[in-house]
């Protein structure tokens, strides 16, 4: 067993971030895109917590609480928005969002 250091945590967090970004770019369902966005936010949380653990500085973990709170508010508003759109259009796909073009 090799020792698990800061860089391992950071690599996992970067992978999570990249996966989330890939999901937002390639998926066409709004709910899945929104899930991927949450993954990106949580990858930042992982990075903050691991930096905090290895640098012996608790400020990063305090920041994580702020991020979780803000993300919760964002999800509440975002899901309500997607539901409102679904009721109107019976679809949660981005391809159907085409009413505005020049």
């Amino acid at each position: 067993m090799t020792h698990v250091g800061l860089e391992h945590y950071l690599i996992v967090s970067a992978l999570l971030f990249a996966l989330g970004l890939l999901g937002v770019i390639t998926r066409r369902n709004l709910l899945v895109m929104y899930m991927s966005l949450e993954l990106m936010l949580n990858s930042a949380n992982l990075a903050l917590v691991s930096f905090s653990r290895f640098n012996d500085n608790l400020n990063g973990q305090v920041m994580v609480f702020f991020i979780i709170t803000v993300a919760a508010a964002e999800v509440a508003v975002g899901l309500a928005l997607i539901v409102a759109l679904y009721r109107k259009r019976q679809s949660a796909h981005v391809e159907d969002l085409t009413s505005m073009k020049y």
Partner: protein, 486 residues
């Protein structure tokens, strides 16, 4: 913790809660008054910043250095208060098109204002993140407030996905910057940032934070949301988005670049020059074929983000002061244009430019206001837009000796101004020279709406003809920010 430094923010938040509660006891037909009362309260707070005891005239930091109060944040707080007061009056004009929850609409505008006031005072990444999210999440709701319209919902969803994406980038950037330096506070970060100027992880973090801020100001390549959201959102929301949200992005951008990481910013002039030039060209070129007035203003707002970035790219105190001055002129000009849209196009389904035909017969005042706003946006003397553009270009050309890219940038900006003349005057032509003039009745306006129009007109002329007072305010504000050492 010194709460007196935050008294302005606290009173704005309390006002928002009072509006929300007053709604419970207010009979439906008197809800209009609630909006006017809130606008009047914000107007009083604005006047109070000049004549009375206001926390935004003091200096100091509180909340462990997270919250800073200086001339720079004072300048922006006045800006945001005035913008929100004018937007609230527009919201009352617009209220008959909102199906339910008019008072919530007013109070959300006030909460967004609170976020902007905190953004003006943010001196710490935590404060930066929380205030920017308070603004953005509030705007998601404000954008979809006309739920019956598909365009409004679509605009909201586009704003939501792209906004959440940019905040994910920003928060990851903050994590990287904090992880490498161990500092959240801007002043502490400034002391150590020069040691990290070669650290890849740190520079990636800075770049990611700039993604988040670039989204807020609608700079290329994070501008995709702007036209759709401006077109779909209710008109007062679009107006507040154009003025308040953009200015909040700039206050954070200036403080982040010139207070937190001045030693890194000094090497990034090329990046800023390129972003600014492309933003100007993109906004102006894409605006040419537009037929929807709000969409046109969306593209024009991208172009103006580019002009404002000229002052940031100059990396001098003069450039920063020019940004502040330009934002002041932009406030009156943009709010005037959106006020005319909200009032004159109330009976139309879409905001097609053709709907302006015959406006000069229906209401000479509105026609003249929209014309003057377009002329000021194009940057023709003697209006506010001209002097602002002049200052920005002057600041850039003065820097030309250090880097010849600045000359190219100034040239690009001039090309952009020439292109913009075409579509701005297309709007003026639609007002006065349309072939078919429909037999529409004259437009009647409420007294507060007239007041907003007059304030915007007065502001455009005052800033264009007597720039010295505003320029002093702007220079004082940038002096507090501290000049960049080169």
């Amino acid at each position: 913790m010194n709460l007196s430094l935050m008294s302005l923010e606290i009173s704005v938040v309390v006002l928002g809660i009072v509006v929300l509660l007053a709604d419970l006891w207010m009979p439906a037909e008197r809800k209009r008054m609630l909006g006017y009362a809130a606008a009047a309260a914000l107007g009083l707070l604005f006047v109070n910043t000049f004549v009375g005891q206001c926390s935004c005239n003091s200096d100091g930091t509180t909340a462990g250095g997270m919250f800073i109060q200086d001339a720079f944040s004072g300048f922006f707080k006045r800006f945001f208060l005035l913008a929100a007061a004018l937007v609230l009056v527009l919201a009352v004009e617009f209220s008959d098109r909102i199906a339910a929850g008019v008072s919530e609409y007013y109070s959300l505008i006030i909460f967004a204002l609170a976020g902007m006031l905190f953004a003006a005072s943010a001196n710490d990444f935590t404060m930066l993140f929380v205030s920017i999210e308070l603004i953005t999440i509030t705007f998601y709701v404000l954008t979809i407030f006309t739920r019956g319209k598909v365009t409004s919902l679509e605009a909201g969803v586009k704003y939501l996905i792209l906004g959440a994406l940019s905040s994910a980038f920003m928060i990851y950037g903050i994590a990287l910057v904090w992880g490498t330096t161990g500092k959240f506070n801007f002043n502490e970060l400034a002391a150590v940032s020069s040691q990290f100027a070669e650290n890849k992880l740190f520079l990636f973090g800075v770049l990611f934070i700039l993604v988040g801020l670039g989204f807020k100001i609608a700079a290329f390549p994070f501008q995709m949301w702007t036209p759709d959201v401006y077109q779909g959102a209710p008109t007062p929301t679009a107006a507040f988005l154009a003025v308040g949200s953009k200015a909040a992005g700039f206050v954070l951008l200036l403080r982040f670049l010139f207070v937190a990481i001045p030693s890194v910013t000094a090497h990034w002039d090329k990046l800023l020059i390129i972003v600014s030039a492309i933003t100007i060209l993109y906004g102006n070129l894409c605006a040419i074929p537009q037929r929807n007035l709000k969409r046109l203003l969306g593209y024009s707002s991208i172009a103006h983000a580019g002009y404002l970035l000229l002052g940031v790219a100059a990396l001098t105190g003069a450039g920063q002061a020019a940004v502040l001055y330009y934002l002041g002129g932009y406030l009156f000009t943009t709010l005037a244009a959106f006020a005319v849209i909200a009032i004159a196009m109330r009976h139309l389904d879409s905001e097609d430019i053709g709907g302006l035909a015959g406006l000069h017969q229906r209401s000479p005042l509105l026609a003249a206001t929209l014309t003057i706003a377009m002329v000021s946006l194009a940057g023709i003397p003697p209006l506010a837009g001209f002097f602002g553009k002049f200052l920005l270009l002057k600041a850039v050309i003065e820097q030309g000796a250090t880097n010849h890219g600045y000359y190219c940038l100034a040239f690009t900006a001039l090309v952009g101004v020439v292109i913009s003349l075409y579509y701005y005057f297309g709007v003026v032509r639609a007002i006065y020279f349309s072939k078919e003039t429909p037999d529409a009745p004259p437009i009647t306006m409420s007294l507060p709406a007239k007041l907003v129009i007059v304030i915007c007109l007065a502001g455009m002329f005052y800033l264009g003809l007597f720039p010295s007072k505003m320029l002093n305010l702007a220079s004082e504000a940038t002096f507090a920010l501290g000049l960049i050492a080169r």
